[in-house]
């Protein structure tokens, strides 16, 4: 019997983690903007940078799988 290929499941787990992380980033950014609306621009930029980095991890997982 050939070995079970678990790489897609691993990628799935990583993407779950990335999704959770993106949710965290989004919710924290929303809270931050609500607390300090005048800093919305800066928070947004930082949020997008972190989201992009996280996305990189998710795509790396997809390509490795």
């Amino acid at each position: 019997m050939e070995a079970l290929d678990l790489s897609m499941i691993g990628a799935g787990i990583i993407i779950l983690g990335a999704g959770w992380g993106l949710g965290k980033i989004g919710s924290s950014a929303m809270e931050g903007i609500a607390r300090q609306p005048e800093a919305a621009g800066k928070i947004q930029t930082a949020m997008i940078i972190i989201a992009a980095l996280l996305e990189g991890v998710a795509f790396a997982a997809l390509f490795a799988a």
Binding site: T45, I48, I49, A52, E55, G56, F59, A60, F63
Partner: protein, 401 residues
Amino acid sequence: MFTFAAKFGGLKLYLKMQKENILKIFLACLLMVVSFSTPAISQEHDQHPEPEQHATHQESAEHDEVGAIDTEEEVKEYIDHHLQDSHDFTFFSDAETGAHYGFPLPIILWDGGLKVFSSSKFHHGDEVVEADGQYYRLYHSKIYKTNAEGDIAYGEDGFPSNERPLDFSITKNVLTMLLVSVLMFILFRSLATSYKSRTIPKGFGRVLEPLVIYVRDDIAKPNIGKNYRKYVGFLLTVFFFIWILNLLGMTPLGVNVTGNIAVTFALALCTFFIVQFSGNKDYWKHIFWMPGVPVPMKIMLAPIELLGIFIKPFSLMIRLFANMTAGHIIIMTLLGLIVVFQNWIAGPAFFGFTIFISIIELLVAFLQAYIFTLLSALYIGMAVEEHDDHHPADNEDIPVL
């Protein structure tokens, strides 16, 4: 039509237009579904009394007769073909007659001498071309050297093991990039010269001016710092180049340039070289011998930091490539599902899904251009940053927790 409207008029106009035309679009969609599903329904009706095996056999036979893309394999093949670069510019093909509507592109090979001929000689991969005593054949949009019969030998990995000539052809992607370059040159030149006679730009320049100022003031200035002016040219070029190419991928032209890893590799390579060559003393110091860190830690961190130099542009490359490829695959898969299911419910449903994903893709097209530019600016900013060597750990006034 909707992608063009959205491209030139922005999302708002599209949404406004959509509201007015939603009934029309719905009706058109319904009509399309009716015309697609009618043969399927009648065919299903015919098959009911027959046994299962016969039904599937007859179905495939009937589909072959019709010649449309009906089976999952064909849809898959079509998507794969779309994602690849191509040696001819085909707008659409008629599978029934085997006719391709489009135009051929020049093929330029270096194989012991320069060889130039038109891609129409390949007849879309059906024929072997002879040039200066050497035979070439198109196989999955790639050119291979073959013998006179056009035999392709397969290696153990399942890929052709034939030799390949050096290919400098003007392919579909190359042509699109050249056209975008010319378009950008004309647009931005007219914008630049319009400032000579007046303070506000004229025509399309009014659309471009706020975007240019946005890239300068919100991307370059806060992330690069004092000497930002030197890099605005590169950032603007990259931003508009990627954005226009992303939007072109949304049109029915069927080009997928930013979803090609070679293109994103070249773009990331530009960022890589600019960052390395504009890096000052502090930048290299912080990579190889960072201040304020114990010596054993410095030895451990240096290789990681060195790797980071390459990982940064690598992530730029993968991000843009993966995002655009994923977008194209999603849209084409949803459209393909209409052809796979062929019934009244799936037609409008996947049509609606496709519109929904298309709107998201319009956002992604901008976002990816923005992120590529922003991260490039950030990396350049890291390289040119002037450190005042003020580290909290060295400062006795601030308690170290």
